[in-house]
């Protein structure tokens, strides 16, 4: 700080507190709604203070689900989401780190072509090729399966670039020393590169876990069997039912459950999250 201006400091806190209120309020409201009883919404406006049905609502959603909305118990959906997010994060990291290794530590024909093919995936988000990608997955018989939920999302240009950048900063002497000592490429990768990449892998994992968890369009397209629903894609179905039949307390409990895991990851691993997010965009 350059100078001491009490009024400006006051204004700073004022702006930030206002900002935090705006950011937190929608979720606060959802949480409040999730603690109410079924009849508390009939009066018109959502209450602003917690009700007494917290355990009851969450318990019912987790173990019973909402049969009228065709939703199975949420613990199944949460399990699917968790599995999907972890497979996507681990898969992306695994195939990206070995591609980056190939591109940086070897010289071979079509190296540049491979690099550009990977780069192109940046320009083809799922949203712009919905129908033909769905068709490919259907032809391969991967609808309603964990493979279908994860494998098509597993290619990652950003992760490959991140590892490539990182490998380029590793001193050449390390590799020369390893070669002099008689280590082959896989041994060098396993014993030297992997341990050095540990922080990058962890940071990337946090960001990719969130990416996998919040996928919506993809699971919506390729699952119609409720055993493979993820919690995020089931939200809309629940909300649509609640609109005609006021079960807002249950829907909002599901919303909170859908938000909680990735939000906790961001809060608890904030340092890794920030590192992962800022570095993948370079």
């Amino acid at each position: 700080m350059v100078e001491n201006r009490p009024f400006l400091t006051f204004l700073t806190h004022f702006v930030l507190i206002l900002g935090v209120i705006v950011v937190v309020f929608p979720v606060y409201l959802a949480f409040i709604a999730s603690t109410q009883g079924p009849s508390d919404f009939l009066s018109g406006v959502v209450p602003l203070l917690p009700g007494s049905h917290l355990m009851e609502n969450y318990g019912q959603m987790l173990t019973g689900g909402m049969s009228r909305a065709g939703a199975p118990p949420l613990w199944i959906l949460l399990g699917n989401s968790l599995l999907m997010a972890i497979i996507i994060a681990v898969g992306k990291i695994a195939i990206s780190i070995i591609s980056a290794y190939a591109i940086v530590y070897f010289r071979f024909p079509f190296r540049l072509l491979a690099f550009w093919l990977i780069f192109i995936t940046l320009m083809l988000p799922v949203e712009v090729r919905i129908v033909p990608t769905f068709k490919v997955v259907a032809d391969l018989g991967m609808l309603n399966s964990y493979a279908g939920l994860t494998i098509p999302l597993i290619a990652s240009a950003t992760a490959t670039f991140l590892f490539r950048q990182f490998f380029l900063t590793i001193p050449d002497e390390l590799m020369e020393a390893a070669r002099v000592d008689g280590s082959g490429p896989m041994k060098f990768f396993r014993d030297i590169l992997l341990p050095l990449s540990r922080t990058n892998i962890a940071a990337l994992f946090v960001v990719l876990f969130i990416y996998g968890w919040i996928q919506y369009l993809w699971p919506l397209l390729i699952t119609n069997d409720s055993r493979y629903y993820t919690i995020v894609m089931a939200i809309k179905r629940l909300a649509a039912v609640a609109d005609s039949d006021p079960q807002w307390n249950l829907v909002m409990a599901a919303m909170i459950l859908a938000m909680l895991p990735p939000v906790l990851v961001v809060i608890l691993m904030q340092r890794l999250f920030v590192k992962g997010l800022v570095e993948t965009e370079k």
Binding site: S96, R129, P185
Partner: protein, 294 residues
């Protein structure tokens, strides 16, 4: 392209290492994209027996279709509003946090987490707040004499998705603005302060211009976000309605291709979207190259 001074000599190994990534890329990215380009030049008869090659007819039809032009306009309004709103709020918060020392960290944590909220969850959250029957905001607005109903009024619906999409994006912009602010040399700011420039003047004449690379980068990212990553937000709140008022380009591809089953038109729309992403990515990477020399 850069490699190492010394490399491994294996001939086969690099290909094996690249196979998983390239297989996924080709099967699930390039092949479908090629298919989209191909069927954008074709028309399928109603029973799907025969396809005829029709050059640019699908595209021409799109640009004569008032619904598509409407969707194009809506998307532009949406993208620009989300970008402006979320970036200006994020910049305000970032500048504020940057003034603080210890308490800044607490605020940062409190502002960062919406990044992890799924777009569809954000859509439903705001839809709930603005719900005409039980939402709290229509209730408050009614007291001010404003009637709100996003199920009937297209403008209300557009405002709803802009707010929901911006709410989620503030955290991302905030993070990058904070990083950008920290790299502004403190000596310049101090020199200006000695010359008698007040905090607002210092911000506009020194800090803001030095932030321009971050600002520009975020602009591209935000336009990209608003156009392509808000499918869930829209699907969770307005569902493209009322009467197409929030039917953005991406939402329309989905609606035409999956619900309307108009493959040729949907493919042509996909190709147009691809061109938009390619343009945005090209701009972004050109800028990244420039920043290296900056």
């Amino acid at each position: 392209m850069q490699t190492k001074r010394t490399i491994f000599q294996n001939k086969l190994l690099p290909y094996l290492l690249l196979v998983p990534q390239l297989a996924v890329t080709i099967v699930f990215f390039l092949w479908p994209a090629g298919q989209a380009v191909k069927s954008s030049f074709e028309r399928e008869d109603p029973f799907g027996f025969r396809t005829t090659f029709i050059w640019f007819d699908n595209y021409l039809q799109l640009f004569e279709d008032p619904e598509y032009l409407n969707s194009l306009g809506r998307t532009a309004i949406f993208a620009v509003s989300v970008t402006l709103l979320s970036m200006s709020l994020a910049l305000l918060f970032a500048v504020a946090v940057n003034r603080l020392l210890r308490s800044g960290r607490v605020y940062t944590t409190l502002l960062l987490w919406p990044y992890a909220v799924a777009p569809v969850v954000a859509g439903v959250l705001w839809w709930f707040m603005f719900n005409p029957t039980i939402g709290i905001l229509p209730y408050l607005l009614a007291r001010l004499g404003i009637s709100w109903n996003h199920r009937v009024d297209g403008t209300d619906a557009m405002i709803l998705i802009i707010l929901a999409a911006s709410w989620k994006q503030i955290s991302y912009n905030f993070l990058f603005f904070v990083a950008g602010l920290q790299s502004v040399p403190q000596s310049l700011v101090e020199a200006a302060a000695i010359d008698g420039a007040g905090p607002f003047k210092r911000f506009w004449t020194i800090v803001f211009p030095l932030l321009s690379p971050t600002t520009f980068f975020l602009m591209i990212i935000n336009i990209n976000y608003a156009m392509f990553e808000t499918f869930g937000t829209i699907d969770g709140s307005t569902g493209g309605g009322p009467a197409g008022a929030t039917n953005t380009l991406v939402y329309k591809v989905y609606a035409d291709g999956f619900l309307g089953l108009n493959i040729g038109s949907s493919a042509a729309q996909s190709v147009i979207l691809m061109l938009i992403v390619i343009a945005l990515t090209a701009v972004q990477f050109r800028w990244v190259e420039r920043r290296v020399q900056y």
